[in-house]
């Protein structure tokens, strides 16, 4: 199976993995063949990898099947990994127009203040609320440019992780 990987830093990799007999694998990365021995140590995400006779202790965490964080020697690499079929499905879907955004609480906490209101035009990264959790007050920021169309919480509300706080529409054309 061929996999298409993209790291958070924007690098892309094409890795082909074929299973051989006795758990062995044949691996090529960007067309270059390497020797690979890959053992699942504990069935909880720790792997012993020997690639071209270089040894790596790697740990993997899955947000979901396609979104992985690979930890090697204290460094973390966030990767998206699509196989051939998923990649084909993706290119059919294509890239959409500017997106509406639902701003969510990243953790459970208390809404200390709201610094915006319906109708406000926001720039990406702008602070919209202050959320208190773990004794610290944290700013909640929007990811994209947009217009506030709905505020779903009030000051003093206790919110759960991932609870929607406000809804943004795409910004007006300028």
């Amino acid at each position: 199976m061929k996999y298409f990987l993209e790291s958070k830093s924007g690098r892309t990799f094409e890795v082909e993995v074929n299973e051989l007999a006795d758990e062995a694998m044949s691996v090529t990365i960007d067309g270059r063949e390497i020797s690979a021995d890959f053992i699942d140590v504990d069935r909880r995400g720790q792997y012993a990898a020997v690639l071209d006779w270089c040894s790596f202790a790697a740990s993997i965490e899955e947000a979901d099947e396609q979104h992985l964080t690979v930890n090697i020697a204290g460094e973390s690499f966030e990767m998206t990994a699509y196989d051939e079929r998923e990649r084909a499905a993706q290119s059919v879907a294509g890239q959409g127009a500017p997106k509406a955004e639902l701003i969510k609480a990243s953790m459970p906490g208390l809404i200390i203040s709201l610094s915006t209101e319906v109708g406000a035009v926001l720039q990406a990264g702008e602070s919209v609320a202050v959320l208190e959790a773990m004794k610290m007050q944290n700013e909640v920021c929007c990811q994209n440019d947009g217009v506030v169309v709905e505020v779903l919480v009030a000051v003093g509300d206790n919110v759960e992780a991932n609870q929607p706080l406000m809804r943004l529409a795409p910004p007006p054309e300028s």
Binding site: E65, N71, K135
Partner: protein, 504 residues
């Protein structure tokens, strides 16, 4: 009297740390725990354990009356408050004593002076300890703060009189920022400490945060244990500390040590305490005194061969500390705080279930931890999970050992500060010892934190891509197998996946 049993009014890493010294001294321990902490290490390591109920600090570890009642009921002789929670609450210290128990810490009177930034400044000025120029009294509102700041010249610090731990403090660079900063900092202090009074202080440019550890007994002896360098911090939350400081020589150490001893003496201090200084271009200014054991006390213990927790206990018994004076640091220690937070996302707290825990080992390694596999990191308490301490004969050996520790370490289930610490330790500034309290924020902004420092002959990102692909191949195969043959395993996988999702 001799203490035979101690109730530890705390949780997590510091509660375990105190229990370990108690074991070394042959003292029994009593743990208290919230509902969220029933399985915690500090409960399992204790001789006795009592539930407090509740989850939030107010429902549990801040219930002073209940805690004192449990201490009496359990037959404890003394209470150790650890840090945070009730550790700097003078009323609690008094109530403990009124109940006929020993409080392992300073007197309420010393806490009252040092816990109030304005009162402590006044006391230090009187004792001849250098302080940063700033307001003498609290300012009434943002307007007064602005006019004082205009007079002093920007940048200035707006500080809550009751503040601490990074709460209630803002740096202001222009007059226009004063009002917003004043209101958020004052509000933060009001909600955290019930006291929103603010004052203005001149901002010392490119300062280092250097603090002196002291121990004082009730017979008037005060001993210092040199400095800790704590300038690698962000929003006043420390990330990496080291002892000794790369910029402090023997003469400066003695000068700062003497000032710290004078500061402690001025308030008739008793027990362990830390006198924090701002250090800039060879000059130092009193910042505040923390009237408790500190998170980073372990690096002082390593270079001075002293158990500060054990000494606190002995001081509470009435023992003297004069035999500990005149010591010098030996070797070098570096601490990294392992926090459940996401450096890539503005250091936001990261919640989840600890999984795939792998601790480092070998020479020069000390781990003070409160975590265990499958522990849930909840939003109720501080995000610090553990402290990693590397000891070496010299600074470079300690640094290399810390790099090794961070490379061996793995904590799954939550994001942690380990990765950013690994990169900072390899930066030119850290290697040279040339950094100040603004270093970490500048470093994060420059996005150099992806750069690999010392040595990394491998293209780890490419390796990660290969590993990710092989993992998907294997995981896909396992999923098809486990759905038919191993239902127990897929339950575990499903539960784990749910936990991951909840954590994001």
């Amino acid at each position: 009297m001799t203490i035979k049993k101690i109730l530890i009014a705390n949780r997590g890493e510091i509660a375990v740390r105190i229990q370990r010294s108690c074991r070394d001294l042959g003292i029994e321990t009593v743990a208290i725990y919230s509902e969220a902490d029933r399985n915690a290490l500090h409960v399992r390591y204790a001789n006795q354990a009592y539930p407090l109920g509740g989850n939030t600090p107010a429902e549990s570890y801040l219930r002073s009356d209940l805690i004192i009642q449990i201490a009496k009921q359990s037959g404890a002789d003394a209470i150790h408050p650890g840090f945070g929670f009730l550790s700097e609450n003078g009323q609690f210290a008094d109530d403990v004593k009124a109940a006929g128990l020993l409080f392992i810490g300073p007197t309420a009177a010393a806490m009252a002076i040092m816990g109030d930034k304005l009162a402590s400044r006044a006391a230090m000025i009187e004792a001849g300890v250098p302080v940063v120029p700033g307001s003498i009294d609290a300012v009434v509102d943002a307007d007064e703060a602005r006019s004082q700041a205009d007079e002093m010249g920007y940048p200035v610090m707006l500080k809550a009189s009751a503040g601490g731990g990074g709460k209630g403090i803002r740096v202001v660079h222009t007059a226009g920022e004063v009002e917003a900063a004043f209101n958020t900092a004052s509000g933060e202090a009001q909600s955290a400490f019930g006291d929103g009074r603010m004052y203005v202080e001149k901002f010392v440019v490119k300062p280092r945060h250097i603090e002196i550890q002291v121990l004082a007994d009730r017979h008037g002896n005060v001993v210092h244990f040199g400095e800790r360098e704590c300038s690698i911090q962000r929003r006043h939350q420390k990330l990496i500390e080291e002892a000794p400081s790369p910029v402090i020589d023997e003469a400066s150490r003695e000068a700062m040590g003497k000032a710290a001893v004078e500061a402690a003496t001025a308030v008739n201090y008793e027990s362990a305490g830390t006198v924090e200084f701002l250090w800039s271009e060879g000059k130092f200014y009193f910042l505040e005194m923390n009237t408790r054991i500190q998170v980073e006390h372990g690096i002082t213990e390593e270079v001075y061969s002293v158990d500060l927790i054990a000494e606190m206990i002995k001081i509470a018994q009435g023992d003297k500390v004069d035999h500990l004076s005149g010591r010098h640091p030996r070797g070098h220690a570096i601490e990294v705080r392992l926090n459940a937070e996401d450096p890539e996302n503005n250091f936001m707290p990261s919640l989840g279930v600890i999984d795939n825990l792998r601790w480092p080992g070998g020479p020069g390694v000390r781990i003070d931890s409160g975590i265990y596999p499958l522990m849930e990191v909840t939003p109720y308490y501080d995000s610090m999970l553990a402290k990693l301490i590397a000891y070496g004969c010299d600074r470079e050996q300690a640094r290399r050992r810390m790099l090794r520790m961070l490379q061996e370490l793995h904590v799954g289930g939550v994001k942690t500060s380990a990765g950013i610490a690994l990169n900072v330790l390899q930066s030119a500034e850290f290697i040279e010892g040339d950094y100040d309290t603004g270093f970490l924020e500048r470093y994060m902004e420059e996005e150099r934190h992806h750069a690999i420092g010392d040595e990394a002959p491998d293209d780890l990102e490419e390796i990660a891509a290969i590993v990710a692909a092989m993992h998907r191949q294997r995981a896909g195969k396992r999923r098809t197998v486990s759905s038919t043959t191993n239902s127990a395993n897929s339950w575990v996988t499903a539960a784990r996946r749910e936990q991951h999702t909840r954590g994001h």
